[in-house]
Symmetry: C2
Subunit: 144 residues, 2 copies
DNA sequence: CCGGAATAGTTGTATGCAACAAGCATCGCA
DNA sequence: TGCGATGCTTGTTGCATACAACTATTCCGG
């Protein structure tokens, strides 16, 4: 198997292990995306769907779960009767902070022997990999 | 959000997109693991479970699907009546080759602007990341 | 050599995540 | 003003995974 593909597989396995040990039960990715958008005002579900490249229905259910859990508030958009505005509750902020702290702690401990430059290089190259792959697939999708 | 965590998220998203566009329907990871072990003789399910850090039941279902699809043969282990020996059929080899070719082609096209050294560096650092995370979680698991 | 603990694997059940299709309001433009 | 597009929800499905319970087999200590 190609070494790069193998390394991707290994990363997936590591992430699976990590997730498995953190029964946080909340879709942190969606939560974080809402927070990232809050400063700019309202956050619509369609934006989340686009950002994650997920089906709107998937986002709808995730958000519904978050609302049920009291982590997100949903208010009607005054400018568009179809849409809703999302924002985090205090509990939502807390949940996301806790989840980040958990992952942060695990990762930084696992990488305690890495130099900051090595970590930066890893981060940059993974971002670039993801960016290039996503760009390609997005183009392929558009021309389908 | 921590940049490293964000980059991991992005890689997951890219992989999801890639998978989404490849309706290969066969668990290639398991298939590849069987092939990797074939030269050494028999391959048991417990080995696959350990290698992937998956529950034996998950492997059992994956293998059952592969057998159903005609990609894997299952023969009783002559030395252990509980166990079975797994090996790829011709169709199994072909399926794995095709899947690898697909991913290989997509990835190398997406990374066509990368230098070989950059790709090597990415591969090495992702492998190291995965290794360190897996080692840590394995230790934590053992002391639980 | 026998019986109980350990092991290999399967099956039942449950959960989470994802997709697609259909439907309902609402919006916006011709 | 009416019809197509848009934002979202719901129903259904399929897949991957875990855990628990079960069967059949093997291994080991007395």
């Amino acid at each position: 198997m190609d070494p790069l593909v193998k390394s991707i597989y290994d990363v997936l396995k590591a992430v699976r292990l990590l997730k498995q040990r953190h029964p946080v039960a909340a879709p942190v990715g969606v939560l974080a995306a809402i927070r990232r958008r809050e400063p700019a005002g309202a956050c619509h579900m369609k934006e989340l769907a686009a950002e994650h490249a997920l089906d709107p229905s998937t986002i709808s259910r995730s958000v519904a779960a978050l609302v049920r859990a009291g982590l997100v508030d949903r208010t009607p958009d005054p400018d568009d009767g179809r849409a809703t505005q999302l924002h985090l509750t205090a509990a939502g902020h807390q949940a996301i902070d806790e989840a980040h702290a958990f992952y942060q702690e695990r990762i930084s401990h696992a990488l305690r022997d890495w130099s900051p430059e090595e970590i930066d290089a890893l981060t940059a190259s993974m971002s670039r990999l993801a960016h290039d792959l996503i760009a390609q697939e997005t183009v392929l999708e558009a021309t389908r």
